[in-house]
């Protein structure tokens, strides 16, 4: 004790013993203190990046101008309305330097071209991370309270999705993810609210099970429940990993609770009509082809490829699934069993129904479900089945007798993208990021514990990444962004045409393929302006017998057996209602023109505008395959539409691939005259 005190007093004496010495020491200490900040700065990470950047650009041809644009020190982009304080540009120095586009040394590479400028939005709005940080680890990798690492590049489109609720050409992954959230039933169990408060709505069509015993057997339901993808590789129904007992009990409840579809006598009549005379399988295949069933339904071919559309269910093993009476009734009129089905009412004749039904029943896999034998269900089994259905949330998607649709069955995912890391139960060894968590949850939900109810979906890695991207876009920040920056989702309208024509359009399921006034599919042309576009006779003939307009299309308009009066009703309605004021019959060229004008148009067609590269007007010489064949266009389109189309195709059909050729009025008139002269050499269109 004594010696320490002695030591201190002698040290004090040595440093501050006399005024001069004291002054010197104090100055020195002060100087050192002042030097701390610059020294720290000198050795700081960002400073070393700035030095590296300077040496990187030193020897380049454009070094002088780049050096002039370089500002030393900490850079900051501050946007109070977005809550952004981004210092990323302190190290990312080449973001706007064109000549660093191919620089490999990060953080100096030029930012790839995107529609927004760094100055306008900063970095973290899209990339996440901590904008105010000035070290790499804090900016990119922080896991502290309320902070999260930056978004991995593979999900970067989630950044766009915070403001853009609409589908954009540049964000295919985000668009796919959002489509899938609606299409795979995710939003039936999980609520997903967009930042503007609208809810994502499902677009799938899970079948109602209230009459399921009419359609199929308990054995099929059992096999399906055990592994939906074993029945159809493209099935969207997830696998609930049920035990044999569970699947047996659930199927028991579904069959025992099913009530027969009332009032369907057609099935019996169809059966009688076909009784006795066997149908020809080749006829069945060709009727299936002519009816363009494959536009919506897929079938696995011998090579193992699934070919066909995905609007309706895959039909590879349809014979294993449906009962013959049900299939007859369904083909006769699907809307009796399911009033909202996307499947059209084809108006097949009884003979056609028998032919198609036999053909479909031949699609049977003898091995499928071959060793499923279920003993008659006991009341206890049935009761247990019902409990399992309630616990599993089956009624979130399917209508089931005696079970209510559950509300908010699964966690709300509206802000899952910014879920605090501290609230996430990561599995051991898992990277601590929200994206990894979401991917793992989708890929293997049951890995998170036996009590997890979420089923196993059969998704490719690309699909999982797309879903993850869509979910990562659901952030808390997206809700605080100013309204002016938000782009709303383009949702389908609930347009429903009125009257008898409207009823016909519902029965023919026009909206499954065509879009009209903002509602409907995108498989076939938008018909919103069809009335301005086509001639009466052509439309009547086309509805009667749709010939192919575009030879290169694989999906085509099927033929419905419409009665003449229904045909007229539809034609009248479309011509009267689906009009646009952009097409003006009064100022348009007339349908018949002097030969020299027609000839002038022909010249323009073949030389100046080279339309033959995509269109055929003369089947002997032209081969163009991209646009519709025009051999009879003079009998199909109105002159007014043709003229308006040539002047500006995108104004009539936004997004059409037909290029706007900036045609002069004169050229467009001459071309219209030429096209109107093309009445075709044969076929109904020619006579008029």
């Amino acid at each position: 004790m004594q010696s320490i005190r002695k030591y201190i007093s002698s040290a004090w004496q040595a440093l501050f013993g006399d005024p001069v010495r004291a002054f010197g020491v104090v100055s020195l200490v002060l100087l050192l203190a002042l030097a701390v900040t610059p020294t720290k700065e000198h050795f700081s990470q960002w400073h070393s990046y700035q030095r590296k950047y300077l040496s990187l650009i030193r020897d380049r041809g454009d070094a002088v101008s780049m050096r002039r644009r370089f500002e030393p020190g900490i850079h900051q982009i501050w946007m109070p309305e977005l809550g952004v304080v981004d210092r990323c540009t302190t190290c990312h120095l080449g973001l706007s330097e064109a000549s660093l586009a191919d620089e490999h040394q990060q953080p100096f590479r030029k930012h790839p071209a995107i529609p927004h400028s760094v100055d306008g939005f900063g970095c973290v709005i899209c990339h996440g991370g901590q904008g105010a940080a000035t070290t790499v680890s804090e900016a990119h990798h922080s896991e502290r309270d309320g902070e999260a690492p930056i978004l991995p590049t593979r999900y970067i489109e989630a950044g766009c999705g915070q403001c853009h609720q609409n589908a954009m050409a540049g964000t295919p992954q985000l668009n796919l993810g959002r489509t899938m959230l609606a299409r795979y039933g995710c939003v039936r169990c999980h609520a997903v609210t967009r930042p503007d408060g609208t809810k994502m709505m499902p677009t799938d069509h899970p079948p109602s099970l209230v009459h399921v015993a009419d359609k199929t057997t308990r054995e099929w339901i059992y096999s399906w429940l055990k592994d939906p993808q074993a029945y159809a590789a493209t099935a969207t129904m997830p696998n609930y990993k049920l035990t044999d007992q569970d699947a047996s009990d659930i199927s028991a409840y579904l069959i025992s609770s099913s009530k027969p579809q009332p009032g369907d006598t057609s099935a019996a009549s169809v059966k009688n009509a076909s009784a006795g005379s066997a149908t020809n399988p080749a006829d069945g295949a060709s009727l299936y082809g002519q009816s363009f069933c494959s536009s919506c339904h897929a079938v696995q071919n011998a090579a193992g490829n699934v070919v066909g559309g995905d609007v309706g269910p895959e039909l590879t093993r349809i014979g294993n699934k449906v009962k013959p009476e049900w299939l007859n009734a369904w083909l006769n009129n699907p809307r009796i069993y399911d009033a909202t089905t996307p499947m059209p009412h084809y108006r097949f004749t009884p003979r056609q129904i028998a032919t198609l039904a036999d053909y479909l029943h031949s699609k049977t896999d003898a091995d499928y479900g071959a060793n499923v034998q279920l003993a008659a269900a006991t009341p206890q089994q049935i009761a247990r089945g019902r409990r399992l259905i309630i616990d599993g949330g089956c009624a979130a998607c399917h209508e089931i007798n005696g079970v209510q649709t559950p509300q908010n069955f699964a966690p709300d995912l509206s802000t899952i993208g910014s879920k605090p890391l501290a609230q996430i139960a990561f599995l051991p060894g898992m990277e601590h990021t929200v994206s990894t968590y979401i991917v793992s949850k989708i890929r293997q939900p049951r890995a998170f514990g036996g009590a997890v109810k979420m089923p196993q979906f059969a998704l490719s890695n690309a699909q999982t990444d797309a879903l993850t991207t869509a979910l990562l876009a659901q952030t808390g920040r997206s809700r605080t962004i100013p309204d002016t920056l938000r782009v709303a989702a383009a949702e389908d309208t609930n347009y429903q045409p009125a009257g008898h024509a409207g009823k016909l359009m519902t029965e023919l399921a026009c909206f499954s393929c065509h879009r009209i006034n903002g509602r409907g599919g995108d498989m076939a042309p938008d018909l919103t302006y069809e009335g301005s576009s086509v001639q009466r006779q052509w439309l009547t003939d086309f509805l009667k017998n749709p010939n192919t307009l575009r030879p290169s299309l694989i999906r085509r308009m099927p033929r419905f057996n419409l009665s003449d009066s229904d045909n007229k009703e539809l034609t009248d309605f479309m011509l009267a209602v689906y009009q646009t004021s952009a097409v003006d019959p009064d100022t348009a060229p007339s349908a018949t023109n002097p030969p020299q004008v027609v000839e002038q148009g022909r010249q323009l067609f073949y030389s100046k505008f080279a339309c033959q590269s995509c269109h055929i007007v003369d089947t002997k010489t032209d081969k163009g395959y991209i646009g519709p064949t025009l051999t009879q266009v003079g009998s199909r389109l109105t002159p007014a539409w043709t003229y308006a189309w040539l002047k500006n195709p995108q104004a009539l059909r936004p997004g059409t691939a037909e290029p706007n050729q900036k045609m002069s009025d004169e050229d467009a008139r001459a071309l219209t005259a030429f096209l109107m002269s093309l009445k075709g050499t044969s076929g109904k269109g020619a006579k008029q």
């Binding site: 454009d62 000549s99 490999h104 990060q106 990444d465």
Partner: protein, 250 residues
């Protein structure tokens, strides 16, 4: 972390000059062989079965896996041979090392890095005397290039790509004057950005060429035309070397 990436990238830049490959070239940064893999065969050569020359997006998994086959001196497939997959920084393989199956093939799923450009991947098998290796090139598209890819798919490919797909019949054979595929670097690399912009915006006649090439000035925005050009540049084979890019001296 950043330091390591930087040195790797620097090394890769050095390789780049040698290989004259536009983007990240192969600096062997693969993982060590999995200790659990016990090879039962040794091959002499390694050949590509499928999965090369794919075009994907930065940071995402390629659509198809890369499949390679190990052969012996006679060209017969060798099962049980060790194959290691390697690539530049940012590329990941699942798995990074594998034993060939009964038909002598090894398969890996590839995720490309976050930087757009060409990636040279390498599959290596130990071999009896010396290791045998195979290089596979894949391309990662950035945002602008991918936008170009989508536009090309909608507006251009049916004329410019002679191949038909299940969804789309090519129109190439129907054209009197044949366009070039966007991968045709020998032709397209010689055209300047200004010429490409001109022919896309104003059609073939802008460069005194066929009017079968339509004008897109009023259909596509300038940004979209630039995206299309960026896309064709990314696809070009042989690779496109932009004139005037200045590389740092050593």
């Amino acid at each position: 972390m950043m330091k390591r990436v930087n040195t790797e990238v620097l090394r890769s830049s050095a390789c780049l000059a040698l290989l004259a490959v536009v983007a990240l070239a192969g600096c062997k940064s693969g993982t060590q062989p999995n200790a659990a893999l016990k090879p039962t065969g040794t091959g002499a050569a390694i050949v590509e079965t499928s999965g090369g020359h794919q075009v994907g997006a930065t940071g995402t998994a390629l659509k198809d896996p890369v499949v390679v086959q190990v052969n012996d001196e006679q060209g017969t497939a060798v099962p049980g041979a060790l194959v290691q997959f390697q690539g530049p920084a940012g590329v990941s393989f699942e798995p990074a090392a594998a034993l060939t199956d009964t038909s002598g093939q090894a398969t890996t799923a590839v995720t490309l890095g976050g930087i757009a450009g060409r990636y040279q991947l390498t599959a290596v098998t130990p071999g009896k005397a010396k290791p045998a290796s195979l290089d596979v090139i894949e391309t990662a598209l950035g945002y602008q290039q991918r936008l170009g890819a989508i536009l090309a798919d909608k507006y251009c490919t049916r004329c410019h790509d002679p191949e038909s797909s299940a969804e789309r019949v090519s129109n190439y054979d129907n054209l009197e004057t044949k366009p070039h595929a966007f991968t045709d670097g020998n032709t397209l690399n010689k055209m300047s950005d200004a010429d490409l912009t001109a022919i896309i915006q104003y059609g073939g006649p802008a460069l005194k060429r066929s009017a079968l090439m339509p004008p897109y000035e009023k259909t596509l925005s300038l940004a979209e035309v630039r995206a299309l050009i960026a896309y064709t540049r990314a696809l070009a084979d042989p690779p496109y070397q932009p004139a005037g890019t200045v590389y740092a001296h050593k």
